[in-house]
Symmetry: C2
Subunit: 259 residues, 2 copies
């Protein structure tokens, strides 16, 4: 078992966002935890108690052999959506295999709810920086991936850590991608201010912050897509321990007015 | 004029996210720039070239006298939406006065496009931590607010800085609020990787990152809502100078498939 984190929830004195460079190309079946431990040693001198390690889903997928060598044979629905989107029908078939529901299709646009429950373009399938593979699927269970990495990192460095597996998603209303948390281990994904009083004594309402997503976004700022920085150490953030994983980050479709 | 920033876009060695505490309660008409300069001196020892200052819209609104003493008299549309949402009809009238379009209404939910172009709940009107006022509206022009603060901070500290005015918004699909950029001055809000080649020589596509939103999210992690940390200094992020403000962050409604 990983050591329990000794987290102190005092006012924050500042956070450091530290890139973990020097990770070699990750092949299918690679021991990603070992690669990260070595790279963290070199980049940051090791982890300290309370660190959060944000890991790009791309390298998790590569290590977990989520590479796809070629597109599947398209069925009727894939051909229909290919005609709408202008995408290759085989690419669409691969997206549909990773999807639970298609939410929107339009020229150049295919937004789905994935089999994992994420709403994103193209089921999160990655077609750049995939090595020899044609495409790379998202990890099967990013919470489980985060938990496995956390266990290994905590043992190796002998400290309590949290792990976030992240990917960049688009969003309605606002332009540009932002990095969000797909998998979370060890920490509460949502920080809940509800019920606390403001300095004027008024109860704060509606202030549940998606801190795991904000941590992923902070990490992206040093994840240079071209220079192999697939992981980031965030130091100094006083997280709340939790076994809840990422589930709290997915909005109940029944309470989502924009599906 | 503010000094031109001397920004070096070399690989990032790490980012520091530094809370600016010690800001007193901000009254209508307060010189927020002076308050921030003094608090930044104490909290971080001053700004250095290339720093980004993220400022919560709440204190910008307070200084810019966006307090509202009481709700307006509701009209028919406000009464109709109050019946749907369960909100007070006067509160709804105030939301409508700050709105361009109502996108969704349901029990407990009123999502609008604001007069500024933001899509958010309740037109971003704040009813907690508002001092003596009943409510607080968003700044009239957050880009202009950011530019004024930037000019003052750059003069005071004699360095090139960027400023982001931020607020916490909900979003479809994912639960929990995240801090986003309402106003931007000095830096490009979007970082565009398109056209660059990955290590395998393949051109990267679709990789425009909303870095101003990610910076706002990083800042929120140290903006304790209860302890008066209304500003954050982010040090070590190599931004691209730009006069474009926040406009690039707002998705063209014609290309938004979830309105």
């Amino acid at each position: 078992m990983a050591p329990e984190p000794k987290v102190v929830l005092t006012p924050v004195a500042g956070i450091a966002v530290l890139p973990v460079g020097g990770v070699p190309e990750v092949d299918a079946g690679a021991d990603l935890a070992s690669l990260l431990c070595a790279a963290i040693e070199v980049s940051t001198g090791g982890l300290v108690d309370g660190d959060i390690v944000v890991v790009a889903s791309k390298v998790v997928s590569k290590a977990e052999a989520m590479q796809v060598a070629e597109n599947p044979e398209p069925g009727d629905e894939a051909r229909r959506l290919a005609a709408i989107t202008g995408f290759d029908a085989g690419e669409v078939e691969l997206i549909l295999m990773q999807s639970h529901t298609v939410l929107r299709s339009a020229p150049g646009v295919l937004v789905v709810e994935t089999v994992h429950g994420f709403v994103c373009a193209n089921a999160g399938i990655d077609r750049s920086n995939t090595g020899d593979a044609m495409a790379l699927l998202l990890p099967v269970d990013s919470d489980a991936s985060a938990a496995r990495l956390r266990d290994r990192l905590a043992r190796h460095f002998g400290v309590g850590v949290a792990v976030v597996v992240s990917d960049t998603f688009g969003r309605p209303f606002r332009y540009g991608l932002v990095n969000v948390a797909l998998g979370v281990s060890g920490m509460a994904a949502i920080h809940d201010y509800r019920g606390q009083a403001d300095p004027g004594g008024r109860t704060l309402k509606g202030t549940e912050l998606a801190v795991a997503d904000e941590l992923a976004s902070a990490a992206e700022l040093v994840m240079n897509k071209l220079d192999r920085v697939p992981a980031v150490v965030i130091r100094g953030y006083g997280w709340e321990p939790s076994d809840g994983g990422s589930a709290g980050l997915l909005r109940d479709p029944a309470q989502d007015y924009f599906r």
